[in-house]
């Protein structure tokens, strides 16, 4: 998993829960990296699972809630750090389509080894939008947060349903309808 996910995750934890909590989850995890992350590095996905797990225990918050919050948080980071991602898109659906078609393409140019989730999108009429998340990382909740924040950013009122397409949560379908 790319280092930026860890650095941004810890940033969010420090902001939301303070330094002690951040230190706590790091100290209570068995981390190969000793908790030292750099955005350009690559680390084991298992470390992320430990950190989120510890955060959930420490804050008595469900993991899906945490992941969703992280998704929303990361959107804002992207917005300020990579404004180029948003230059060519004028609507929420366009942006969601561009994740697979543009952003992931650019990421792979820089990091050939990056393991990215796959987003399959399809528009339904003018107002409907279907998006299928598939990843071994099972982080559909994280994706959900990203989608919600996107809709908010483009000030698009919507309704969204989330349907797992299998039992282990590696494939999840989102249906978003403009209101």
């Amino acid at each position: 998993m790319k280092g930026i996910v860890f650095t941004e995750f810890l940033e969010m934890v420090e902001q939301e829960y303070g330094l002690e909590i951040a230190d706590h989850i790091l100290e209570n995890s068995q981390l190969e990296s000793q908790g030292a992350y750099t955005a350009v590095g690559t680390y084991s996905h298992d470390e992320m699972l430990q950190l989120i797990g510890n955060l959930s225990t420490k804050t008595a918050t469900d993991i899906p809630v945490l992941l969703k919050a992280f998704g929303r948080y990361l959107f804002d980071t992207f917005l300020s750090s990579y404004p180029s991602f948003f230059e060519r898109t004028n609507s929420a659906f366009e942006f969601l389509e561009s994740i697979e078609n543009h952003i992931h393409v650019e990421v792979r140019k820089l990091y050939a080894d990056a393991e990215l989730p796959k987003f399959t999108t399809q528009r339904v009429d003018d107002i409907g939008f279907e998006m299928i998340y598939s990843s071994e990382r099972k982080m559909a909740d994280f994706a959900e947060g990203l989608i919600e924040r996107t809709m908010d950013h483009y000030k698009t009122p919507y309704e969204m349903t989330k349907t797992p397409l299998n039992e282990d949560g590696t494939m999840v379908k989102f249906v978003i309808m403009k209101k």
């Binding site: 330094l19 230190d23 000793q34 030292a36 992350y37 350009v40």
Partner: protein
């Protein structure tokens, strides 16, 4: 507690920074490596580009050098004929610079008269989408000179369509000039060759006429009372004129051969008899010398071959004469040996061998060249023109052989050659065409028609046909002949060409074209003219044969045997006649013997007819002279001309021949003056014939008694 957290965070941040730096360093290294690879690749590519550019430039330079070395104009022109490329050398030839021509249309340089032609040439290439074409036209050089250009143009195509032209243009002005000069030179040469032939032909006639007079007069002089010295002079005179006569004949033969005017007659040939006759002649010549004449003829030569008797005679007379000239003692032999023989042809090897002085090696090479003799200093001691051997060699070549010579100086020479004759397959003993032989024609069912206006000729032919028991009828002119031909079919028609009312040409043409019973009957032309053009004309209008007047009986018989079967009998004794009656020396004895043989009453008949016929015609002739009617004079001269030959007065025939030509040329003064010169001679001759007629009469009556 807080400070510990911070310390730990600090440691983690430091660690993360180190990681980041390591990654950065690694990435920087990768980047450097990638850059290096890129640079090397770039260098390689640049090197390759440079190399290729150098190659391309050098190959272009090579082409450019090549194009500039060529002394011709090499150019590209677009579809509208504008020059887009050109070598420097090309335009410079015509005083133009490259800049003056590039970008310009060709019309600007083409001769105004050729512009349309040139445009049409390119238009045709475009229209017919030709790959390549050649064209000649004129251009005007910068200094105003007209130059001829020959250019090969090739189309350069893209997707099958012509996009431009590539051409090589050459200045062919000199070449054209050279060709023109050559043509002129050839014409000049041909003209002078023709002039030479004409000169020779006319010279021969001009020289022979006075020469005959010299020879004739010398003979007459010989018969007068001469002292010893005078006799010697006459002898020299005679010898010299005979040599001159031979020389002229040889020169003429040579010119005939050179101009291809010799025609090889293809007739039945008794080679055995021909060689025997030659041997006999030479044996007599060699009688008083210590030279033996030998003849060896292959036994296998026993059929009639096809060949030219006259030319073969000339070959052997020349070779044997040559042998005789250079041989003082020993022998001269003539040998004919079969090399190959079958039903179709017989190939014979001939050899003339002598034991004479021989020929040196140096001279062997040039004895067949014109006017070359053994050596210059011997020329006078052996005489001759130096044309005999070259003529002989050429005649043999014409017959398909090759005359060769081998010789050892001091021992003798051998001349030999091979000729392939067609074989008739007819055995020699079965047929004879010798004039002294008599025989019988198988009498035909149909008669012969003789179309002839001259009563003397009628009588002559009639007499001969009677003698051979061939039935015949006369027509006096063409019109009468046509009428007779419409009424009755004839076996053969003799047709005189020059006749009153309707001449022979028109009559023959009518018989071939209009409805009559004789459109397929063979027609034999009779004429006193020996012009080849007339002979050709008779052939053209479909006449089958040609007989020149005057003709002797054997010549007539020769024609007749082609149309009527003839059975030969044994020879009659001709000597008897000659011993029995001798005509006056003034008359041509040989001719008379040939014509009348032993039939003296026939001769008498002809002499009598001559007297009446001539007296009439001569009176009319004189009348015409009085009236100054030159046309009429010519007509009578033509009529009288042949009859003198019949009585052995060929020389008078020659006079009337001259008179006929003069009248044809409408040379009245020449005609009269010539006539006055010969008038007395003619009158004398008439008297002579009268005397001879009386002698004949007396002789015959004496014989009969």
């Amino acid at each position: 507690m807080d400070s510990e957290i911070l310390l730990r965070k600090l440691r983690r941040e430091k660690e993360a920074r180190k990681q980041a730096e390591a990654i950065l360093e690694k990435k920087a290294l990768e980047l450097y490596q990638a850059n290096e690879d890129l640079r090397r690749l770039n260098e390689t590519l640049e090197g390759e580009i440079e190399l290729r550019t150098i190659k391309m430039l050098s190959s272009e330079q090579q082409y450019r050098d090549l194009v500039e070395t060529i002394d011709e104009v090499i150019y590209h022109a677009d579809r509208s004929g504008v020059f887009t490329f050109m070598n420097h050398n090309g335009p410079a030839r015509f005083g133009y610079s490259l800049d003056e021509m590039l970008g310009q249309a060709f019309e600007k340089f083409v001769h105004p008269d050729d512009v349309e032609k040139t445009k049409a040439f390119y238009a045709k290439m475009l229209k017919e989408n030709l790959d390549q074409s050649y064209f000649q036209f004129r251009i005007i050089s910068k200094n105003g000179q007209i130059r001829w250009i020959g250019q090969s143009v090739k189309s350069i195509k893209e997707k099958g369509e012509i996009i431009k032209f590539a051409a090589v243009a050459r200045d062919i002005t000199e070449r054209n000039q050279l060709m023109e000069d050559l043509r002129n030179a050839k014409e000049l040469a041909e003209n002078s060759q023709l002039a030479e032939k004409q000169f020779l032909a006319s010279m021969s006639h001009e020289i022979r006429t006075p020469l005959n007079a010299i020879i004739g007069m010398s003979h007459l002089l010989e018969d007068t009372n001469l002292n010893k010295d005078q006799n010697e002079y006459v002898e020299v005179l005679l010898n010299s004129s005979k040599i001159l006569h031979t020389l002229i004949s040889d020169v003429l033969d040579m010119s005939k051969i050179d101009s291809g005017n010799i025609e090889i007659q293809e007739k039945d040939l008794d080679l055995r008899a021909l060689l025997k006759n030659i041997e006999k002649t030479f044996a007599i010549k060699l009688e008083n010398q210590t030279i033996n004449m030998k003849l060896q003829i292959d036994e296998g030569i026993d059929t009639y071959l096809i060949g030219d008797e006259l030319l073969l005679n000339q070959i052997f007379f020349n070779l044997l004469g040559n042998a005789e000239k250079f041989t003082d003692e020993g022998s001269i032999s003539l040998r004919a040996k079969i090399l190959e023989s079958n039903d179709e042809f017989v190939k014979i090897h001939f050899e003339v061998k002598d034991t004479g002085i021989g020929i040196s090696k140096d001279n062997l090479n040039n004895i067949f060249e014109k006017f070359k003799q053994v050596s210059d200093d011997k020329k006078y001691s052996y005489g001759g023109t130096g044309l005999g051997l070259p003529i002989t060699k050429r005649i043999i070549t014409l017959m398909g052989g090759d005359l060769e010579v081998e010789s050892i100086e001091g021992l003798g020479s051998v001349f030999h050659f091979e000729i392939q004759f067609k074989n008739t397959g007819k055995a020699i003993s079965q047929k004879t065409n010798h004039i002294s032989n008599t025989g019988q024609f198988v009498i035909p069912e149909l008669a012969i028609l003789v179309v002839e206006d001259n009563p003397m000729n009628q009588k002559y032919i009639g007499r001969l046909l009677n003698k051979w028991k061939l039935p015949f009828e006369f027509a006096n002119h063409g019109k009468e002949a046509i009428e007779m031909c419409q009424a009755k079919q004839y076996a053969l028609i003799f047709m005189d060409l020059q006749m009153p009312i309707l001449d022979g040409f028109e009559a023959a043409l009518a018989l071939k074209t209009i409805q009559n019973k004789n459109s397929n009957t063979p027609i034999i032309a009779l004429t006193a003219s020996s012009l080849l053009s007339i002979k050709k004309q008779t052939k053209e209008i479909g006449m089958n044969d040609f007989l020149s007047k005057p003709f002797n009986p054997s010549q007539l018989k020769e024609v007749l045997v082609k149309y009527f079967p003839f059975k030969a009998q044994q020879d009659q004794n001709m000597e008897e006649f000659e011993a029995a009656f001798r005509f006056n020396k003034e008359l041509n004895e040989n001719y008379l013997a040939d014509n009348y043989g032993s039939d003296l009453s026939y001769a008498l008949d002809m002499f009598q007819t001559f007297i009446t016929s001539f007296s009439n015609d001569y009176a009319l002739f004189n009348e015409s002279i009085k009236n100054k009617d030159i046309k009429s004079c010519g007509m009578y001269a033509h009529k009288i001309k042949p009859i003198f030959t019949m009585v052995g007065l060929n020389k008078i025939t020659a006079h009337f021949d001259t008179l006929e030509s003069l009248s044809k040329n409408e040379n009245w003064e020449g005609f009269v003056s010539y006539f006055r010169k010969v008038e007395q001679e003619i009158v004398n001759c008439l008297a002579l014939i009268k005397v001879e007629t009386v002698r004949l009469e007396k002789f015959i009556s004496h014989q009969q008694a």
